[in-house]
Symmetry: C2
Subunit: 386 residues, 2 copies
């Protein structure tokens, strides 16, 4: 095939955006194979915007139609894994929207299923991994340029969402509709980047606020301590109520430090000698000079890199990469199986906050589902009463 | 009296520095009344450096001598409260070095004692409170210029200390000698500033590393989540092993944000409207514009203030203020009774880390002493064995 025929499941904001990108010819190796939405109203829109494209109300029919080589799941998070499985089962390639699912148990299911279909492409929309800035940071860490990590710190509070955003859809920011708030909707990008660059922690402790500054039942404010199991620790902070939001990532290692400001500027300080060596060999006189600020410039080299913001192009790049993997085996930016780490971290954060204790990874996945379902049921009961 | 006759208890680094300041006439309202140290070696040094000043080996003798109107306690932290009490009991004014003590129980004792001696001056060396930068930040918060606080965040990892620093004294960074590490020795300044500016939290959760990057039994790395009880949260991070240390304080409120970099630069963003009002009234179109970065400058006013570093002058200022309070009632920069908040916070952080659970304030002070003493005893047993 020359182009991958993509089936877009869910013609909402994201599905519509992908449709337009493809229609406008901005993705060289993809054409729209079919569009699917359970809402009949969407058919009218689709007929108008994408007149020659088949429309299905049931995605299973679309998968069986032969119209599509691949699908992308622009639907509520709970549905990503099962739709992925149904596609792969019919030898249709699958690109999951993030997060891979709401809970690890369902994501494991699709990962295992995909394992048995090695010839099919299974990918996930971690568009931020195409960001050259974070690729550069990952390269520095992978090449041990700042040594082993001692501390990570990401304040990512720039996910501001006003009440109107939440009020625009009754499923938005609910336990039953989305399975959470900022952790499953906005922050999955940074949760994935953090684990992609710095690895998975062994334990997390989370303080989350539910409906703190927004009228929603789920979390709009999260503070987490990460424990990497070797003495290294981290902090991850996110919220949706800070209109002056901060985006600052700091990674501190044995041999240096990286600070990323606003996902645009990277400041890298490389120590001339590892910190341990400095600690072990410095005389008190040298220390005294250093503490007074005399000659401290001599202990490290600084490099500052500026990157352009590339928000728009990222989704395009992942779609193109997904199709390229199908067509010629180009390596994936984000394999579908990678999605579980972010889900596991978000689950662990929820669970820690619910039980008010530190949680070890891997989490007790049955306990997570049990606790999540309690919240879904309570929410449903409350909605019936009001 | 024209000048306060100060008795310096402990002629170590700090006591020596105060002695020299006074000898050189840099503190207008203080003269050295007497010097005291249990180490007879120090007498030789004192006789040479401060030839006309009486020297005592026992501080009780000094208090009873009539040579001093006031004392300052430049001795191990454990001794601050009892020396303060002995002084006040003899109608001698007391300036405690920070921290006020190692555990709240002993600090409460001196606070209660001082309460019954309202005519005496009881102060504490929180020299950082004289820093104009933090005074300005406190003023902004007190005047509600950024509204109620939603989040505090202080990364203060610039307290770098090499192994040689710890090896320089066998009491240093031990449970029995100092009662802890970075929390009782370096970070008390910022712990006090944080509570002075932003108030006390209701709960803390702490992840501390003991002897992580230094060969010491106490903590050299601490990460704490603060819960202010009203939805507001905070993070406090400190360590002594980061030679590229960060000093960044962020305070985010209903109506704006303050960021302090390196205790030198303050960036204040004041929202034109409270965030809640923006969230409640913004149309999705306006939101979309804002998220794209169009016209976001219009939602707040930015002010940037730069301050000179004033490390040297701070101790001098507190000494002078202490004497002025004795002489003419000038209000104290830091009343001695204020010291308990920092001690309580540090104790809560230790306790949370030891028990691996969130701790409510006020802490169980008997439990703290019990847990601390376990560590002191274990340390003593180990030292005997090696």
């Amino acid at each position: 095939m020359a182009k991958v025929r993509l089936g877009i499941i869910g013609l909402g904001q994201q599905g519509g955006a992908y449709g337009n990108m493809i229609k406008e010819g901005r993705i060289s190796n993809i054409e729209i194979g079919a569009i699917c939405d359970i809402d009949p109203e969407k058919k009218k829109w689709a007929d108008q915007e994408f007149p020659d494209v088949p429309f299905y109300q049931d995605y299973i029919d679309m998968l069986a139609s032969g119209d599509v080589d691949a699908i992308v799941t622009c639907v509520p998070h709970y549905l990503h894994p099962e739709m992925g499985i149904e596609a792969l089962d019919r030898d249709v390639h699958a690109l999951l929207e993030k997060p891979a699912g709401v809970y690890t148990k369902q994501v494991k299911e699709i990962n295992e299923f995909a394992n048995n279909k090695p010839d099919l492409t299974y990918a996930i929309m971690f568009n931020q991994r195409t960001n050259l800035l974070y690729q550069k940071v990952k390269e520095i860490i992978d090449h041990q340029e700042i040594g082993n990590i001692r501390r990570t710190n990401w304040i990512i509070t720039s996910w501001w969402r006003p009440q109107g955003y939440y009020d625009a859809g009754s499923w938005r920011a609910t336990w039953d509709g989305e399975g959470g708030g900022v952790l499953v909707n906005q922050a999955p990008h940074q949760i994935d980047l953090l684990q992609w660059i710095c690895g998975m922690p062994k334990k997390v402790y989370t303080k989350a606020q539910y409906g703190y500054q927004r009228n929603i039942p789920v979390e709009d404010d999260v503070t987490t301590i990460l424990d990497y199991g070797n003495g290294a620790t981290g902090v991850f902070i996110t919220c949706t109520h800070d209109v002056l939001g901060t985006d600052r990532l700091e990674i501190y290692g044995d041999k240096g430090k990286i600070v990323v400001d606003d996902s645009k500027k990277v400041t890298i300080k490389r120590l001339n000698k590892p910190e341990k060596e400095m600690s072990d060999t410095m005389s008190m006189q040298e220390v005294s000079k250093l503490l007074k600020g005399e000659g401290s410039g001599a202990i490290y080299q600084e490099e500052v890199l500026e990157f352009d913001s590339v928000w728009g192009g990222q989704h395009r790049a992942v779609l193109e990469n997904f199709a390229a993997n199908i067509l010629d085996g180009t390596p994936l930016i984000a394999s579908g199986s990678d999605g579980i780490n972010g889900v596991e971290l978000a689950n662990a954060m929820h669970l820690s906050s619910w039980l008010n204790k530190e949680i070890s990874l891997p989490i007790d996945e049955n306990l997570y589902v049990e606790e999540l379902n309690k919240r879904r049921e309570q929410e449903i009961r409350q909605n019936i009463q009001t």
